[in-house]
């Protein structure tokens, strides 16, 4: 199994919305990068965290487990978690694992932001 092959960066859309850009692979090796990004977003005051998964190239079941763990942490902090940019393949994975019932899925960043801003 290869080591972490993921790049995770955080940017702010505004004071309460942070966007986490994920490029590469989400597996168990991505845990530190993902959780650090979440911590960074939360420290910046985000009540909404949007995951940009348009750069997702590979995900195994450990990876989906990490996303669930992230969602649980967000829920406990009364934060909202959304995603955008999922390919058709990974939308099916979200549907299979029923993650789509808990995380909002949008096509573009603009759509996700529009949903949040109402």
């Amino acid at each position: 199994m290869s080591k972490a092959n993921v790049t995770v960066t955080v940017r702010k859309a505004n004071d309460s919305i942070s966007i986490v850009d994920i490029r590469g692979e989400i597996s168990a090796f991505a845990e530190n990068a993902l959780m650090d990004a979440y911590t960074q977003a939360t420290s910046a005051g985000a009540s909404v965290i949007i995951l940009n998964l348009s750069g997702l190239e590979y995900m195994n079941s450990s990876g989906i487990g990490l996303l669930v763990t992230l969602l649980i942490r967000a829920n406990r902090q009364k934060q909202r978690l959304l995603t955008y940019g999922l390919s058709e393949h990974y939308q099916k994975i979200f549907e299979l694992t029923r993650l789509n019932e808990a995380i909002g899925i949008y096509k573009t960043e603009a759509e996700a932001l529009a949903e949040v801003r109402g």
Partner: protein, 260 residues
């Protein structure tokens, strides 16, 4: 080139490792000895669809002194899944084996007091959600004691292969949550995975102690999921077992009618 065209040209490396989305489980071939009672027609559930507290439990064992790769361990694990289980846990993989989308029937007994052997019958199963050369993950159906995923894997660590079982689960309904906390369910789960890893290590001639970590990811229960009780497989199995004499009488009656 449009995004749509690019989408179809991308072959994701994990494409063949995942099961296909299913609305409800279907079973074509039931392995001999398995009870197909609480699988067909059930939805699969993740940790988000359960009732109780969410736990991340990790059990691992170092296969010290043995030259074996993670891929060899997992290949053997898939082929001999049932053999590593404790005596009261009967696993029946489908005839196709441990592959994405396949089901594994389970016949076991749940405890009613901590530390005592299980006596409450349970016919359930799991679906193989994901499988590659170094890991496979099963997902539980409605009615299973736990809602969530259990991953079986092996990896290399400091020159030694480590086998691991990791569960990201929560009890499915209020009855299971009570049983998990107060009737020995949690202890039974830990004992099962300790046994499995020790059996697996013994198969490779390795000796080691199982290391265990648990983390309570969410101490809150989801009261909105109390309705999961209607799918409780332990209750359904118990009723099925209690109704066995009635089925015998009905079978006898049909035979008499058929013979004129």
């Amino acid at each position: 080139m449009s995004d749509h065209t690019v989408e179809h040209q991308i072959q994701y490396r994990d494409a063949d490792n995942w099961a296909r989305p299913v609305s409800r489980l279907t079973v074509s071939d039931v392995p001999s000895g398995a009870v197909n009672l609480n699988m067909c027609g059930h939805q699969v559930v993740g940790p988000l669809q359960g009732f109780g507290q969410i736990w991340l439990r990790t059990y691992r064992i170092r296969l010290g002194g043995v030259k074996v790769t993670p891929a060899e361990v997992v290949k053997d694990w898939k082929e001999n899944l049932a053999k590593f289980q404790p005596p009261n846990n009967h696993f029946y993989p489908s005839l196709t084996g441990v592959k994405p989308g396949e089901v594994v029937f389970i016949d076991t007994r749940l405890p009613i007091l901590p530390g005592l052997p299980g006596i409450l019958p349970l016919a359930a199963g799991v679906m193989v959600l994901y499988a590659d050369d170094e890991m496979f993950t099963v997902m539980t159906p409605e009615g299973h004691p736990l809602a969530g995923w259990i991953t079986f894997s092996a990896h290399e660590e400091d020159g030694c292969t480590v086998a691991q079982v990791q569960g990201l689960c929560r009890p499915s309904d209020p009855i299971y949550e009570f049983g998990y906390r107060f009737m020995g369910g949690e202890l039974a789960e830990d004992n099962t995975w300790f046994y499995v890893l020790e059996s697996l290590a013994a198969r490779w001639g390795a000796k080691g102690l199982v290391q265990f970590e648990k983390s309570l990811l969410d101490p809150n229960v989801q009261w909105s999921q109390w309705k999961n009780i209607w799918s409780n497989s332990a209750i359904r199995t118990t009723l099925y077992v209690l109704a066995a004499p009635l089925r015998w009488v009905r079978h006898l009656f049909k035979q008499r009618l058929a013979s004129g």
